[in-house]
Amino acid sequence: MAKSIKMKAILRKGTLTLRALIRHPMKVSLRDPDTGELTPGHFIQEVVCRLNGEVILQAHWGQGISKNPYLSFRYHGASPGDRLSLEWRDNRGKSDAREIVIE
């Protein structure tokens, strides 16, 4: 897999900036106002980023994160050759992961 995740990491003076895009519908739960019928949502609940295997970010998301989520963060103390991974899991139990090596 890993096709749902695009990651770009830039290392400058020890500060790592990650920018990531995940392809995902991020659908909200909707209740039909007439019938009261509930269409369950479909959204990413958890994103975990690891640097050399150690968790540096754990995000918990709800339905309020936009379709095809974007995430950016900065980390101090990374080095070239470090492995950075991103893994997501949604409320239907689907998941995907990707790992890159920092240049």
Partner: protein
Amino acid sequence: MDQERRRLLRSGLSLPVLATLVRFGIVPAAAAGLDLEPWPREAFAVKGVGEALQALYGELARQQDPRVRIRAEDLVENGAVVPIRVEADLPEVTEIALLAEKNPVPLQGRFRLASGMEGFIATRVKLAESGRVFAVVCAGDGLHVAHKEIEVTIGGCGG
């Protein structure tokens, strides 16, 4: 190396100093990452900003803090995709949460950050209608809160 880092931590070096040492590779960056926590079901089920914060952080003291800044447009046309970034000029930021008071589910997301992470997060959120967006930053001694009024021309709950 890790013991060395522990020793330095215990030595009472201030965090900015330590962060600098880490940055120049003198002290290795935090070897111990975060322990994973379960998805906070209740915080995503409640209907108010206050209740969501209560569910996430209990009675932890909250204060408005100008060192927390929300960067987003004042007026957005499409509430389905609202770029937002939070910058917290605070040491030891361990978590950032984003909430929208007018959304059916106010809590949009919480971002737990390991040591070494900057107090910064950027993402894109949905806004059902015009109203305040809250950034809640967990740093050392408590919760530091900022809010921003965002006007939405087309709501974002159809997504």
